[in-house]
């Protein structure tokens, strides 16, 4: 299966502040009563957006200044909690193509990578600096470069290091982020291994 080689993501940014933003927050469970992922995008951060509105504030996703942003910035442990792939699916369908955070929960990280959405780590200081740049000029274009391991901002003197586990970088940059084709390639070896494991032999 030929997939796009994802080496760079360029787009405008939106900063969603906070640590431990869980997948219930990203897509509340009641929106998961569906048998396809279609239509999840409009419910991304659904309750958080309403809560901000009710409190007389505005959630970054509803702030017209950040409309059309494709790169999300956030805090540590982003995507913790439930394993629901509905969370990255909702962000993807909303239009997000990359996430920059201090750290990521593992299941969310894996689910995002499988969709071709890079999740890269950046230091708290750099995230704060980048958030300030976006806040002062929401139109600036960020470029996340997976081969150079850095994020730069067009026409702004900003360059920050990003990190990502080697396997995810390899998968994204070589167009193997959805692993199904590679797994199917190994089916003969799967059958051989199964035959050697006592509790599976004979399945």
């Amino acid at each position: 299966m030929a997939l796009e080689k994802i080496t760079q993501v360029t787009g405008r940014g939106v900063y969603i502040p906070g640590d431990d933003i869980d997948t219930d927050r990203i897509i509340p469970a009641r929106f998961m009563k569906c048998v396809t992922f279609d239509g999840l995008g409009e419910f991304a951060f659904g309750d958080a957006r309403i809560a901000e509105k009710n409190a007389g504030r505005i959630h970054p996703l509803d702030d017209p200044r950040f409309e059309g942003a494709t790169i999300v910035l956030s805090g540590s442990n982003f995507g913790c909690g439930s394993s629901r792939e509905h969370a990255p699916q909702a962000l993807y369908r909303y239009g997000h193509r990359a996430i920059i955070a201090e750290s990521f929960a593992e299941i969310f990280f894996g689910n995002s990578t499988t969709l071709g959405v890079p999740c890269v780590k950046m230091s708290q200081q750099d995230i704060a600096a980048l958030a300030a740049i976006i806040e002062s000029d929401p139109a600036v274009l960020l470029t996340l470069d997976l081969t150079e391991n850095k994020v730069t901002v067009a026409d702004v003197d900003f360059c920050a290091e990003i990190t990502m586990p080697g396997h995810a970088r390899e998968a994204l940059t070589t167009g193997r982020w959805d692993s199904i084709a590679d797994l199917v390639d190994g089916l003969e070896e799967v059958k051989n291994r199964v035959a050697k494991i006592p509790y599976l032999a004979g399945v």
Binding site: C34, A48, N77, G81, T114, L183, V190, I197, Y199
Partner: protein, 472 residues
């Protein structure tokens, strides 16, 4: 070289190293439910792939099932469509389905162990983060996304990197009225909700040695709340005794051979860990969460924290928590008024949880759920419900004013009719206190042990169960 259980199981289940460096890992046992599987079956159809080993996948329905009006069609057409979709997918592919009429339906993490499907030395995956529960048997078990459900259905494998292993020791004897739930809340409080990222937690020490199998499940269940995708306990006689005679457990000579293999999968005594942390059981008191992450937990005799007194990195989330929970910094945790008490979930919906609470309710015979409090008991499976009813536990709960419900995830996650309303505050034996988790965006959740939930139900406020039930 000495190895951990994780090393041994990983090695045995490694098919090959993939081009990106991850392991193509064989998943011996695959569990599915109605929420995260329909899209996976859809992807298989789109790709023209078949289920490779239908008899290594087991299904049940838990997240969306109503716990009161269980006759189909359900009042919620979306939920009804989901159960029918799973039924159809299982029928078409030959996957075993513990369906509602089977008598064996329940929360997937309760059904697997009670059927004897969960076994030591195996790999188990499920599209649910609390799959770590099964690690209590010495399995390497973890939650996966829907694309990986597809991968496992099609190839019985998935792509995954090998985690590091942190040994988490708890030694000593827990004080009366302190439970496995308090142990895991205490561990998460100290290691953090992100402390386990990149690690599997191997739980051990004398406290775990003396735990029942069900207590071990409660702890492993919440590994993910500490950031560890995998949590496990080395299998021992307690494990083998639990599994003996269950429907899917090996029988006769195969049983003896299996036990020998299972014993050999335990970590070697001189295994080297990437990290080791230790706790003392005596230091742990009944623990309750006050915030919006499972790590925001305090002992029952502590006051609600002031965010400004916390380490700088914890302050923003703490401020958000205080605002959402409508609590006052410095106020005692004790006496916080509750609206709802929920006893159930894959963390604490097992027979032993219900038995323990019923024992103390019986000791206060005549005492009822406080006026204005809605209290529900949701057995984790139809199997648990049937035994509890035969033992008379259901009657004890009903007499005390609790509603006795049918098996499912219920109020743990707000995907079925059991939901908080408005900003109701729920004393809950479940695993997540995230904003909106229990179905109302402004709903408030405090996590605690089942007995603490019962104590709060009877008094209408957060209460020290040890005082109420005269435990000392």
């Amino acid at each position: 070289m000495a190895k951990t259980l994780l090393d041994k199981v990983w090695e045995e289940h490694t098919v090959r190293t993939l081009p990106d460096g991850r392991t193509q890992l064989l998943i011996g046992t695959h569990l599915i439910h109605e929420v995260t599987s329909p899209q996976a079956f859809g992807m298989l159809r789109d790709l023209g792939l078949k289920v490779l080993y239908p008899n290594r996948t087991f299904a049940t329905v838990d997240h969306i099932v109503p716990t009161d009006q269980r006759a189909e069609p359900f009042s919620d057409p979306l939920a009804d469509a989901m159960v029918k979709e799973l039924r159809k997918n299982c029928a078409e592919t030959g996957v075993t389905f513990f369906d509602l009429p089977s008598g064996n339906q329940g929360i997937v993490h309760i059904v697997g162990p009670e059927q004897g499907i969960t076994q030591p030395g195996t790999t188990i995956a499920c599209g649910d983060s609390h799959t770590s529960t099964h690690g209590a048997f010495g399995a390497i078990a973890f939650g996966i996304g829907t694309s990986q459900v597809r991968d496992v259905l099609a190839t019985q494998t998935m792509a995954i990197g090998k985690p590091k292993v942190r040994r988490v020791n708890v030694d000593g004897k827990l004080s009366p009225g302190v439970y496995a739930k308090d142990v895991i809340l205490h561990i998460i409080r100290h290691l953090g909700v992100n402390g386990g990222i990149g690690y599997a937690y191997e739980f051990g020490g004398s406290t775990f040695d003396n735990f029942t199998q069900e207590e071990r499940m409660t702890v492993c269940n919440m590994s993910i709340e500490g950031g560890a995708r995998v949590g496990y306990v080395n299998p021992d006689e307690v494990t083998f005794e639990y599994l003996h005679g269950r429907p899917y457990s090996p029988k006769g000579e195969a049983w003896d051979a299996a036990v020998a293999r299972w014993k050999a999968t335990a970590s070697d005594p001189d295994a080297i860990y990437d990290d080791v942390v230790s706790f003392k059981a005596e230091d742990i008191l009944p623990t309750v969460t006050w915030g919006i992450t499972p790590g925001q937990a305090i002992f029952i005799d502590e006051a609600i924290p002031n965010p400004e007194d916390l380490p700088e990195k914890d302050r923003a989330t703490a401020r958000e928590a205080i605002e959402h929970m409508k609590l006052t910094s410095g106020a005692p945790l004790l006496g916080t008024k509750i609206d709802v008490a929920f006893l159930g979930s894959c963390t604490n919906g097992r027979l032993s949880d219900l038995q323990e609470v019923a024992k103390y309710l019986r000791s206060l015979k005549g005492r009822k759920v406080a006026p204005g409090v809605k209290a529900i008991v949701v057995p984790g499976s139809q199997g648990v419900a049937a035994i509890a009813e035969t033992m008379g536990l259901a009657e004890i709960f009903r007499e005390a004013g609790f509603e006795w419900r049918g098996a499912g995830c219920s109020m743990c996650l707000g995907m079925n009719p059991d939901k908080l309303v408005g900003d109701q505050l729920c004393a809950s034996s479940s695993n997540r206190n995230f904003k909106g988790r229990q179905g109302s965006p402004t709903g408030r959740t405090m996590l605690m042990s089942p007995l603490m939930v019962a104590a709060a139900a009877l008094t209408g406020e957060i209460t020290d169960a040890r005082a109420l039930f005269a435990i000392n």
